[in-house]
């Protein structure tokens, strides 16, 4: 690194300047540090430095019962908590071999898609803010607030919902919950039109995003990039279609793709995804079946409060599950879901006890962030900001 120092009597007339962007910087979305080597405003090399938000969540799982792991998953990717809930629940359920009732599956899809809207709205607001369109942020937050209210209605929490539990859901729907969602989702596509009105044809927006942050598709595949980024480069890769889970195969939706692979294409893909999510939510609302919201598995699922007060066995099971947890058969499982950011997967190894032996997450933000140097090197500082925004990473998701 010696030759990269700023010009000084010792280094002579070098033209390079090392700029330490972050961990405190308005546009790194959290605590990402990027060491940029600059020639004027052109980026020669970029080295992302992660780990400032390392929380040790993966290790933490090993000290907790399986059921106690759900709240941890909320905190990994705090903008797509329900996707994480869902992925963790699916992985444990595969180990347990649980059968999930249809009502729970529909609600899971509903919630996962609302999470996608939530995450994409935050992305759009902050991305536009980074490029200088300040007002977009507030318009997006207006809709996000509605989604958070829905989450609060269903789970009692706005962000750390822990609503999707192993074996089903935490609670059944609240009174009027589905009506609230329908009211929101009927109005939502017009809101997306409103955002596009402000940005889609705006020449400054196009100038700042078109042809910026391009990565070839092959490089993306090598780097492990998934989600909207890879779909914007032309590959229709979506876990919801390729390996359907939670009954996604019952829903009718498209995978939006673009060929350009630049920031503008990613923007368009995400905007289309919001529309597709709205379609899925409408279908889930229309087809929502009646029935139980939890799997029928007395040794794993906590019994209803009503039964606990009348039946001896229910009380015993409740005591045993809460104090000792439930044993999970020996084995390992890897389940991937499509989180708003890309392919999210949990890999759980069980030694037959009530606590996991190892939990590993394949988080989309981490894979996507690997493409950062490939994306920004050779561009300008302003391009790196646009590129960073288009990756839509969450540092909690990167560092775990």
């Amino acid at each position: 690194m010696e030759e990269t120092l700023i010009a000084s009597p010792e280094t002579g007339s070098t033209r390079k300047m090392t700029l330490n962007m972050g961990p405190q910087h308005p546009s790194t979305h959290g605590v990402l540090r990027i060491v940029l080597e600059l020639d004027g405003e052109t980026i020669l090399t970029a080295a992302p430095d992660i780990g400032y938000l390392h929380t040790g969540i993966e290790k933490e799982f090993e000290a907790k019962f399986y059921a106690q792991g759900t709240p941890l998953t909320d905190r990994v990717d705090y903008l797509a908590n329900l996707s994480n809930n869902l992925c963790y629940a699916l992985t444990v359920e595969r180990l347990l071999g649980l059968e999930i009732p249809a009502r729970a599956n529909y609600t899971r899809v509903l919630m996962a898609e609302l999470t996608r809207l939530n995450s994409h709205l935050v992305w759009l607001g902050t991305h536009a803010l980074d490029i200088g369109a300040m007002s977009m942020f507030f318009y997006c937050m207006r809709e996000r607030e509605d989604i958070l209210r829905i989450f609060e209605m269903f789970s009692g929490q706005r962000m750390m919902t822990s609503y999707i539990r192993i074996g089903g859901l935490a609670l059944d729907h609240p009174r009027g919950g589905l009506d609230t969602i329908r009211k929101f989702i009927d109005a939502f596509p017009s809101k997306v039109d409103e955002y596009e009105n402000l940005l889609d044809q705006n020449p400054i927006w196009k100038n700042r995003t078109q042809g910026v942050g391009y990565i070839p598709l092959d490089d993306m595949l090598d780097l492990g990039v998934t989600g909207p980024m890879i779909r914007a480069a032309g590959l229709a890769w979506d876990i919801r279609k390729s390996e359907p889970y939670s009954g996604y195969e019952l829903f009718d939706f498209d995978i939006p793709t673009r060929q350009e692979g630049d920031v503008y294409a990613r923007y368009q893909v995400r905007m289309d995804e919001m529309r597709q999510s709205a379609r899925i939510i409408t279908q889930a609302l229309d087809g929502m079946p009646e029935g139980p919201f939890k799997a029928e598995a007395p040794k794993v699922m906590l019994p209803d409060r009503e039964k606990m007060k009348t039946q001896m066995e229910a009380l015993i099971y409740h005591f045993k599950i809460v104090t000792e947890g439930f044993a999970v058969p020996k084995g390992e499982a890897y389940v991937a879901v499509e989180s708003p950011r890309g392919e999210l997967a949990y890999y759980i190894v069980s030694d037959g006890g009530s606590k996991p032996y190892r939990v590993h997450m394949r988080t989309p933000s981490f894979g996507n962030l690997q493409a950062l140097p490939a994306m920004v090197e050779g561009g300008l500082i302003a391009d790196s900001i646009a590129g960073l925004g288009s990756m839509d990473f969450v540092l909690g998701d990167v560092d775990r």
Binding site: G132, A133, M134, S135, R208
Partner: protein
């Protein structure tokens, strides 16, 4: 002696009004932006946050002024002074109204009558960038340095189209004296104003000037030197306390000055958009309309608890202002000051609103895109405008 006293009074009045405008422009900007963005803006200090500028001044003045290590202290301290003093000078040559006669003294509604006012403004505005460039360079901060560099590059790009756009109406008006420029546009309807007088050439020049003005004042979409999402705070990253306030004030002072120049040269200065006896009722009508709305909302549907009191109070004030303007139609002594100043302020206010509106709407240019835009689009357009106007003047007089 008379001249000295009159000048002194004018300086006090103009300076007081200018400083108040700067302070409240910031309040207006926050309010307008807030309402664009579904927020309320300042609400806590005073009714509707009206004392917020005062609170900001007290906060900035009482803060510790930190001088970071290894800065070039001389230039570091000098830069905000350059920025703010140069930003405050130009207002001196702006005429706010016609020559008036008060208590037997005849004087112009401006601080100094220069016969080269336009040149002075151009000169001052090009030196103004030194404050930013020096501040960025002296701060010993890489972000500041890049902010300073960007502003220098930006200045080179927008200065030329701006000067050419400013020169275009001068071909028609044939003077460099801002007072004469304003006077020649008066006496009739708004199509006598420069911007509308030789359609569409001078209107294009006006738009080019306005776009360059956004760059000159470092406003969105050209706020590259302080692009906070890229350069943290750009050239003023390392500044705190009153030094920061200096840069802040300079930005707003530049905004007011440049809109005043645009009003004087392109929008007919203090002249109303249609002839005098009728245009004099416009302020009264506006203020009464505004007051009536405030009274209606405050008394019948207050959104917040205090609106029941604040809205009617401001409504009555507005009605009173309207009454003053109505009275002024009967007393020419007062009217000769009030009406020109009203129209001048109204036009400047409209342009300032456009500045704020754009900030709430548009994303930011990239540094090389700004240069490409100014050199390959703005500059040829301004030049073409100038040449065609010259041709027109040469052929048809």
């Amino acid at each position: 002696m008379d001249y000295f006293l009159v000048s002194l009074i004018k300086i006090v009045v103009v300076f007081g009004a200018f400083m108040t405008t700067l302070a409240y422009l910031q309040w207006v900007e926050r309010k307008v932006l807030a309402h664009i963005q579904l927020r309320l803006g300042p609400q806590r200090v005073g009714p509707h946050g009206l004392l917020q500028p005062l609170a900001d001044v007290i906060k900035l003045a009482t803060k510790e002024g930190v001088i970071p290590a290894n800065v070039n202290t001389f230039f570091y301290i000098l830069a905000p002074f350059i920025a703010v003093s140069l930003a405050l000078i130009s207002i001196a040559v702006i005429p706010f109204g016609p020559a008036i006669e008060l208590f037997g003294v005849r004087t112009n509604l401006e601080l100094t009558s220069l016969n080269i006012g336009v040149l002075l403004i151009l000169a001052i505005s090009s030196v103004g960038v030194y404050g930013i460039a020096l501040g960025g360079w002296a701060s010993n901060n890489k972000y500041s340095l890049m902010g300073g560099l960007r502003s220098s590059a930006q200045m080179i790009s927008y200065e030329l189209p701006m000067a050419i756009a400013l020169a275009t109406p001068l071909l028609v008006l044939n003077t460099l004296d801002l007072r004469q420029i304003a006077e020649r546009q008066g006496g009739g309807w708004f199509w006598n104003w420069t911007a509308f007088s030789a359609p569409p050439l001078l209107f294009i020049a006006f738009v080019v000037f306005l776009i360059s003005a956004f760059a000159e004042t470092n406003r969105v979409p050209f706020d590259l030197p302080e692009a906070e999402n890229e350069l943290v705070a750009g050239f003023h990253t390392e500044y705190s306390s009153l030094a920061f306030a200096g840069f802040f004030m300079a930005e707003y002072a530049n905004m007011v000055t440049i809109t005043c120049v645009a009003t004087t040269i392109f929008l007919g200065g203090w002249h109303p958009p249609f002839p005098a006896p009728y245009s004099n009722y416009v302020p009264t009508a506006l203020f009464w309309f505004f007051g009536a709305i405030l009274l209606f909302h405050g008394l019948t549907q207050p959104a917040r608890r205090w609106d029941r009191f604040t809205f009617p109070i401001f409504g009555v004030l507005s009605l009173g202002l309207g009454a003053i303007f109505l009275g002024a139609t009967f007393f020419p002594v007062v009217g000769q000051i009030l009406f020109p100043v009203f129209w001048f302020v109204a036009k400047v206010g409209l342009l300032l609103f456009i500045f704020i509106w754009v900030r709430g709407t548009l994303p930011r240019f990239r540094y090389d895109q700004l240069m490409r835009f100014t050199w390959t689009f703005l500059f040829p357009v301004a030049l073409g405008c100038l040449l065609l106007t010259g041709l027109k003047v040469a052929l048809f007089g």
